[in-house]
Point group: C2
């Protein structure tokens, strides 16, 4: 198995990418290929005294930035890390791609170069949402790949999410909820009412509607919705979590008493920060493409690159993409 | 001016309603009328030794609960607090209504009995969102009155929200943002793209798109969207805030060190809780009806009833409903 990592994606690239890749290469037998300018990357590998056999460099001279129009950049920059990696996936020279680069470029290149799974109408971006006061995470999709959605896309999100969670986490028949404005079956806009009915009649282990406030506390494995409301949910709940943590840090350093209090309660405060952290879960899969692609936050550091690479291994090993393809094509009547 | 308060709405009614009403009646000269079973309410007024001239009781023998189908209950329970209060608003026997009762019943009775402002296509529920690290709040609408929205409803939300914030907070020409999945003009689903264009061409002080994570930290006075995504935003951000506060409380009482830490940092932790509290802002207006109606959380206590009543005073005094009516009818070309 060969997993490509985008050496030039994210705010802390290439240094943190290389560090994360080395950490992963020490733990897995699979080949980790860092893609990017060869000279720079080799220098970094030498700096970290890396002599591992299962780490390699693939040269790519260009980088697509967040400021470029994705589709245009993908067409123009043939030797960019993203375009080259997608082409290698297509040509079966590699098995998965991990990148903290532009989401738009990953989606565009994914669609234009790698292509959709046959039968999948739209790819979806999935994200891990922490389960508060419990262990584990909930997979939420779509988080913004498709803003103008149809009920059948949401059902396909249910299938893709289930297969991914099963493959990566080993959960049999994962439960699937529908993000909605109330728990009752008749709640929601037309899109979600129709998606509810279709999910009820699908083979997905559908457990009903989930409200915005309950996603972080529910026992459900996968929550599906359209890309617009999924994005609103993700950014608002994550934004709130970051804002509170930021204010806690500020407030707990105002004056001697609070500072001492923070010192005494340090380990508990750290526990809470970890519990509400969206970043540790490791890589948002872009589901529905012909090969595994994992997208990381732009501010990812070595630890996150490591986690995402380690998630890519069972993603490939357990043939998640193949299972999605089969399931979707066996059940065309739902769409 | 006569403000009706629903004596039987919310988990802590009627006791907390009566306490809140008394507190308000002590501060304002306006008449506060508590609606509900006369005997029970008189007993409570006596219990709290209330002899204020500006507090009165309106007898209503029925209550609509959260478990009833709103439209049906409104038609059947003619002597319920909500139906009777709406009728009094319609007959101009009262000027505003404050209730912690069923949102569905308030909306149904609002539409069926009181009626929409002429020219307003759909009423909207607005909610106050805390501004983190800053003073004040942002008004978000629609939070769920209309789940299947059209661009023109969102523009009308902008007008109603602006007029309300101006009337109640005294902010001249309030700024209005559009909840969206990115800040760029071309972002969003069809609905939000069209709403963006229409808002640009309206007289509303439109400042562009706001992402889910930025609503709590922006300087914008009013944020508009459709009722589905508004509800998702509100419940997920408020849910996250409540979850973190709950975990803080739990974790900070685990062991001597954390407990001592919490004791020392008590005032700072209290500040944070207050900063992120959605409940203190006082009453979500249902905008677009022919008279002011303010809806409170079901778990509201005396303090919240007091706040909402005090917000109803400038709502009536500054003729917010009349200004919305005028503005909408002067600018029919936008819709």
């Amino acid at each position: 198995m060969r997993i490509i990592v985008d050496g030039m994606g994210g705010d802390y690239s290439p240094e943190e990418v290389v560090k994360g890749a080395i950490k992963a290469a020490r733990e897995t037998q699979e080949t980790i290929a860092i893609i990017g300018p060869e000279k720079e990357l080799s220098k970094l590998l030498r700096k970290h005294s890396c002599k591992l056999d299962n780490i390699e460099i693939i040269n790519a001279s260009e980088v697509i930035t967040n400021n470029e129009t994705p589709a245009l950049a993908v067409k123009k920059k043939k030797d960019s890390t993203i375009v080259k990696a997608m082409r290698m996936l297509k040509d079966e020279e590699a098995d998965a791609f991990v990148s903290a680069g532009s989401t738009g470029a990953l989606l565009s290149a994914g669609l234009l170069i790698l292509g959709r799974i046959k039968g999948i109408k739209r790819p979806a971006i999935a994200a891990w949402v922490p389960k508060i006061g419990k262990t584990g995470t909930t997979l939420l999709l779509d988080c913004g790949a498709n803003v103008d959605s149809k009920p059948e896309y949401i059902v396909q999100n249910g299938i893709m999410g289930s297969m991914f969670v099963k493959g990566v986490k080993g959960i049999d028949d994962p439960s699937v909820g529908l993000l909605n404005i109330g728990v009752e079956a008749e709640k929601g806009d037309d899109l979600h009412k129709q998606a509810y009915d279709k999910l009820m009649n699908s083979s997905v282990n559908f457990t009903g509607n989930v409200e915005g406030r309950d996603v972080i506390s529910c026992d459900i494995d996968v929550v599906v919705t359209d890309g617009f409301s999924g994005n609103i949910f993700l950014k608002s709940s994550e934004g709130m979590s970051l804002a509170i943590m930021g204010r806690l840090k500020d407030k707990m350093s105002e004056g001697i008493a609070a500072k001492t209090g923070a010192f005494l309660a340090y380990s508990k405060l750290k526990d809470i920060k970890k519990e509400f952290d969206y970043s540790e879960a490791g890589g948002a899969p872009i589901l529905g493409l012909k090969a595994p692609v994992l997208k990381l936050h732009g501010n990812s550091k070595a630890e996150e690159f490591y986690y995402a690479i380690m998630k890519a291994v069972p993603y490939v090993e357990n043939k998640v993409t193949e299972t999605i393809t089969e399931t979707v094509n066996k059940n065309k009547k739902w769409f």
